[in-house]
Symmetry: C2
Subunit: 339 residues, 2 copies
């Protein structure tokens, strides 16, 4: 990290100079695909996924060390009664992850995915976004840098997820700040906000965006003012993956809001990312469409924890296996078309 | 099998007396689900799948011995030039399955699924449905009985797929006979029929259904007159799974046409079945809707081989793992809602 200048300067520079796709690996993948023992295009989206893996990893499609990274944070906005669960649940769920008792643990076991949990200063919730910035620029940049470390251990497919009581309120505020419309259209039930709780959630998002309204032209300012630690860390992890040629699967509504910050800063910033699953959270499909993406799965989940991304990783693993493991028409002695 | 009466008599009796869901296992699964460390309903369709596994297996949701059964057959209708691939490809692909070179092999490896291939008298294509019955009643019943044996080795999740040059023509004829409309709306490109080939495919389906029109009130007559060996075997396998309390995932357009025969004979006959994936074949979504089902995946594939069902099995395995492996709020010490 830079020791001079403002803390965001390095990220601004990084976002201006993102590496592009690997054209040679992409051409090689398309050439191999045309020889595999199936009618052209018959594996549909699995073929597109294989090409995407090639383009953004820079080599033949393969998934040998998939990793789910889950970032956990706490949020000052919970003091406004925006969720039916107490903030202490964030820490309790981190312990549940560590003990192997959460949904994400079972999905990682099923699909043979590594799992790392990053808890981010859970005893120090971010500022209350309705009347102050969530984070200082220094704290936000440091948390992004921390998130970049998530990929340091080595992986060839990174699934990005989160846990944080109150963070669908945060995601709604980010989307409202980025895309406009009304607060109500970006706020959903999250873990189960209904009735008065849901009304307080909408009011908090409305108040927060109004409070910060003169500072929302800059995506990184939106991140530090309206975001949270897990959001900043996810943004950092997605950026680091790009630089290190690691394709990324993004999870639900909250993870998508972190990705949206990067897309707003550079329209090409998410070209190495898939959206794993469209959540039941009402604003998610709309936010995915703003990113120009089509989610891989639609299973009506709304849990976070990286669960949607991890399920999608099972599909991505199969796509890589088909591409690398199938026989060619020539090697298998299978006849081609007669026309 | 009965040694007296007509060959179909046993199947007619079986279809009248199908076992229902296990209410006790279903209640137990719902009770456990309510205790798991997640907001109520937050796993969406994964929870529905767990309940479905409980109801139709009669025990706590588990997938320990998943099996993909692929049935292969050849079809006299190919003499009308309805497909760009020669019928010899059916045998060649069976050999490719045996050698581990096909897409279904890679998906089974990825998701740790057993795979069995059943080739059905490939040297003796069925009769040309445009001017004769595909099968005699005796042959059709024997092939259904053969299909029932597919589950004999023991499995707790059966994925049903097929391979057979010409069999999307067969599936279109079955759907047209069952549901009416026009031949053209049930015929699609299959492995890649275009232009004149596609027109010949539509004409063959039109001619076949017209030729047999006085015998299409009985679903089993539709099966033997317009079907094929792999279709009859898949119908038998789905039936046998019901009796043996094995939940079933049905693959693409052709496998769905086999299932549709059973549904026409008894509206409850597919209650133990999921549709794994909606194919790119234009008639598939419409045929799925006729069965009252919602496909689990939509990945634009159109390959058959059980590939869509096998990918869906990865989701079903994860659903069972979440249900059985997650901690409860009490055991994990996670707080519930405060309201």
């Amino acid at each position: 990290m830079s020791v001079t200048g403002l803390p965001f300067d390095d990220f601004r520079a990084l976002l201006r100079e993102l590496p592009g796709p690997d054209a040679q690996a992409l051409v090689a993948a398309r050439e191999r695909d045309a020889q595999l023992t199936k009618p052209a295009g018959a594996l549909g989206r699995l073929e597109e996924i294989a090409f995407w893996l090639a383009a953004w990893s820079g080599r033949s499609p393969a998934v040998n060390r998939p990793l789910v990274a889950v970032f956990a944070g706490n949020h000052g906005v919970t003091k406004h009664g925006v969720t039916p669960f107490p903030p202490s649940v964030t820490q309790q769920m981190v312990e549940n992850f560590a003990a192997g008792g959460a949904a994400i643990n079972q999905i990682c076991l099923t699909h043979d995915l590594g799992l790392k949990i990053f808890d981010l200063a859970l005893d120090y919730p971010t500022g209350d976004i309705t009347c102050e910035a969530a984070l200082s620029e220094r704290d936000c940049a440091a948390t992004m840098a921390f998130g970049m470390e998530a990929v340091a251990g080595g992986t060839d497919l990174l699934c990005i997820g989160e846990m944080g009581i109150g963070n669908t309120t945060i995601a709604a505020a980010i989307n409202y700040a980025l895309y406009g419309g009304s607060a109500a259209e970006w706020v959903g039930p999250g873990t189960g906000s209904e009735g008065e709780v849901l009304q307080r959630k909408i009011a908090a998002v409305e108040t927060a965006v109004r409070f910060h309204k003169d500072h929302l032209d800059d995506p990184l300012e939106i991140l530090r003012r309206l975001g949270g630690r897990e959001i900043a860390a996810m943004a950092g992890a997605i950026l680091a993956a790009r630089v290190q040629k690691i394709p990324v699967i993004i999870d639900g509504y909250v993870a998508t809001s972190a990705a949206a910050i990067l897309k707003a800063a550079n329209p090409a910033a998410l070209d190495h990312c898939l959206i794993g699953h469209v959540s039941a959270e009402p604003g998610h499909l709309k936010s995915i469409e703003r990113l120009g993406k089509t989610p891989l799965l639609a299973l009506g989940m709304r849990l976070g924890e990286g669960t949607g991304a991890a399920l999608a990783a099972g599909i991505v693993k199969a796509a890589a296996a088909c591409h690398s493991g199938m026989a060619t028409f020539a090697s298998a002695g299978v006849s081609g078309r007669t026309d």
